[in-house]
Structures are given as structure tokens and as C-alpha cells.
């Protein structure tokens, strides 16, 4: 009887640990991000990706529809080459635009999609041609200071 009680407790203990690990993985580590694995791939070239990272969200109208899977450099054009994975149920027209925005003033950066109006959809592996680079805060401040200085002359 005593032995069986211990076995039960040990079993519960180990199960509790496994449950904690699963909850951590899903709730804290967002392992459920594999939901995008069955999505299709789109490419986009930006002249400046700013602080964009792999796994940064791709949003349409504020709703996350995918994530950045790879950021590389095109050695010919010197453009930053961003690969994204988009949910399969979201079909984007060929004249869709992509920009890099910042959530809040200093928040994380994400790719914002502006859907176009063309009847044809972008095929998996297609490229978004209309892109707008990340807003570089340092550059903006520099410009503002420069304008102020030249305006007061």
C-alpha cells in the first residue's frame, strides 16, 4: 500500500514536470509558431531592414499573417533580401507592397503588408517588388537637426 502511494506520487511529480515543460514551450517559447510551417514563401528586397530579425512578425492590417524566416544580402544589388512565410489562406495580389514599421517608438520591428488590387495573386516563392525600408530614427533626427540648422541661418 505504502509503495503504491509512492509510485503514484512519483508518477504525478514527473507528469507535472512534463506538463510544465509543455506549457513553457507553448506559452513562453511560442513553439506553436510551427503553425506557419505549412505556409508559402514570399521574398522582398529592402535597401535597409533596420532591426528586423528572423521570426519577426509579418502583419496585414495589424493582424499577424506570417513571420520572417531568413534575412540575407543580395551580393549583386546590395539589397537586403528578406524571406517570409505567409499563412496559406492569405492570398496576396501581385501589386502588394511591403514596408518595415516599428511597433511604438522603440518597439520591435515588423513587416507590414499593403495589399494591392490586381486580380492575379502572388505565387508561392514570388517576390514583392514595391518595398519601403525601415525608418531609421538616427537618420531622421540627423535630418531634423540639419534642417533646423540651415533654416535658422
Amino acid at each position: 500500500m505504502e509503495k503504491r502511494a509512492i509510485d503514484w506520487w512519483v508518477g504525478i511529480f514527473v507528469l507535472l514536470g512534463i506538463a510544465a515543460l509543455v506549457v513553457l514551450a507553448l506559452r513562453v517559447g511560442n513553439l506553436s509558431g510551427f503553425a506557419y510551417n505549412d505556409g508559402y514563401v514570399l521574398h522582398a528586397d529592402f535597401s535597409d531592414v533596420g532591426g528586423l530579425k528572423v521570426r519577426s512578425p509579418v502583419k496585414l492590417g495589424g493582424v499577424t499573417i506570417g513571420e520572417v524566416t531568413r534575412i540575407g544580402m543580395d551580393p549583386k544589388t546590395f539589397m537586403a533580401h528578406v524571406t517570409m512565410r505567409i499563412e496559406p489562406k492569405v492570398k496576396l495580389p501581385t501589386d502588394t507592397g511591403a514596408s518595415i514599421y516599428t511597433a511604438g517608438l522603440l518597439g520591435e520591428q515588423y513587416v507590414a503588408i499593403q495589399p494591392g488590387g490586381m486580380p492575379q495573386d502572388l505565387k508561392p516563392g514570388g517576390t514583392i517588388t514595391m518595398t519601403q525600408s525601415a525608418v531609421n530614427l538616427d537618420q531622421l533626427i540627423g535630418q531634423m537637426v540639419f534642417n533646423k540648422a540651415s533654416g535658422s541661418k
Binding site: D7, F13, L16, A20, L24, R27, V28, P57
Partner: protein
């Protein structure tokens, strides 16, 4: 003349230290492989997992809850100056998963279970139970040490996972309902910055190493204790002190190796 004694004394101390370390390592290896010995019983292992794990559960959960809540408070006051309270979830989760979870679990484990383990094996030695077992040709390593060692290796990562989870929940409890951080941002920022293999599993791997080291030190100190009441008392103190320092030192090395 007293000055000249210094050199041979130092030499003797160092060679004694190396000898002790070697014996302790052999002790560890024998105990680890003693699982295949016929005197190793699963029932003993379960009993130890129950003693180490199930009975430390409440302590760990309370400690984790308070650790998480304090992290929430302190993180909030540091971040609110920069208007960056949206990063609070990340801060709480990463501190817990990478460092505080494994280290605090191991330190509490050293105090709660390690000391008891040293005292138990030390008393067995003092009351000549260990000698009696040897007389009956019972394999000491398989019957006494191995179940405890393996229990430590199993229990500490499990406790650490529970510690992490309860800690994050504690941080949430303070951040969102009390300090008014947005709940969605708290979880979303955490999820986009914590990786499963890089942060969660590495933290648990740390805990596994700590479990091994703490139980090893505790068992060895008990085994090497002088067989008197005073000797067992000293061994228990030494066990907690050495294990705690070893955990902190090893944590530094593991962090340097794993998070680069």
C-alpha cells in the same frame, strides 16, 4: 624554520586535494554505472524521487512565485523610466529560464535534499550500517548511492521546469493585474524573444548538471564523513557550502559555454 614548513605543507595539501578529487570522481563513476548491478532497485529510486522531488515541490513553488513577483516589480521600475514596460515579459522569462530557475532550484535543492542526503549516508556510516552491508556482500553503490544520485539527476530538471513556470506566472501576476502592463504585450513580447531550444532546454540542461553535482557532492561528503556525531554534522555543513559554491561556479562556466 616555520617559514620553510610552509612549502611542504602547501605541497601536502595540494596532493591531498588531488587525491580526494580523484577518489570522489571514482565514487561518482562507480555509482553511475551501478544501475546495471543486480542490487539496484527501481523501488529505491522511486522512493528517493519521492523524498527529493515530491516533498520539495511546495517549497519550490512558493520560492518561484515570490522570485517571479519580485522580478516583475524590479523589472517594472527599471523599465518604466524608458517607457519600455512592454519588454517586461521578456525580462522576467529570460532571467528565470536562463539563470534564476536552474540556480535557485539547485541551491534550494542543496539545502533541502542535499543536506538530508549527507546526514543520512553519514549516519549510516557512523552506525556501521555501511560496514554491515559490505559484510553481507551488498553492493553499496548500487543499493545506497546510485538510487540517490539518479534521483537527483531526474528530480532537479523536473523541479526546474515547475520553478520556471510558476515564476513566469508570478511575474505575470504582478505585471498585468497589479502594475497595469498590457497582458497581450507581456505574452507576445515573451513569445517572440524566448526560444525553446536556446532558452528553455538550455536552462533545463543546466539544471540537470546541477542535479548531478549537488547529489554527487552530498553523497560523497556523507560517504567520506568521520563516523562520529560531530563528523556527520561537519559533513552536512560542508555538503551545503560546497554544493552551493559549486552550483554558482558551474553556472558561470555553463553560461559562458552555452550562451555565446
Amino acid at each position: 624554520m616555520a617559514f620553510l614548513d610552509f612549502v611542504p605543507n602547501l605541497g601536502r595539501r595540494v596532493s591531498l586535494m588531488v587525491l580526494n578529487l580523484g577518489t570522489a570522481t571514482r565514487f561518482l563513476l562507480w555509482s553511475l554505472v551501478a544501475v546495471i548491478n543486480r542490487h539496484f532497485s527501481m523501488q529505491q529510486l522511486f522512493k528517493q524521487v519521492y523524498g527529493f522531488g515530491v516533498r520539495s515541490l511546495l517549497l519550490m513553488m512558493v520560492a518561484a512565485l515570490f522570485t517571479g513577483m519580485v522580478l516583475g516589480f524590479q523589472g517594472y521600475y527599471a523599465l518604466v523610466r524608458f517607457g519600455a514596460t512592454s519588454a517586461l515579459g521578456t525580462l522576467v522569462a529570460l532571467s528565470l529560464l536562463r539563470e534564476l530557475g536552474p540556480v535557485l532550484t539547485a541551491l534550494l535543492f542543496a539545502g533541502r535534499a542535499g543536506s538530508a542526503l549527507t546526514a543520512e549516508i553519514g549516519s549510516m556510516k557512523a552506525t556501521e550500517q555501511l560496514s554491515a552491508m559490505e559484510m553481507m556482500a551488498v553492493n553499496l553503490f548500487a543499493w545506497v548511492v546510485a538510487p540517490r544520485l539518479w534521483a537527483g539527476i531526474i528530480v532537479v530538471p523536473v523541479l526546474c521546469a515547475i520553478f520556471d513556470l510558476v515564476g513566469v506566472f508570478g511575474g505575470y501576476l504582478i505585471s498585468v493585474p497589479v502594475l497595469g502592463v498590457d497582458g497581450g504585450t507581456f505574452w507576445a513580447q515573451m513569445q517572440s524573444n524566448v526560444t525553446f531550444s536556446g532558452d528553455i532546454l538550455t536552462g533545463l540542461f543546466k539544471a540537470l548538471c546541477f542535479g548531478l553535482v549537488v547529489t554527487w557532492i552530498a553523497a560523497w561528503q556523507g560517504y567520506a564523513a568521520r563516523p562520529t556525531a560531530e563528523g556527520v554534522g561537519n559533513a552536512t555543513t560542508r555538503s551545503v557550502v560546497t554544493a552551493s559554491l559549486a552550483v554558482l561556479g558551474l553556472d558561470f562556466i555553463l553560461t559562458a559555454l552555452l550562451f555565446t
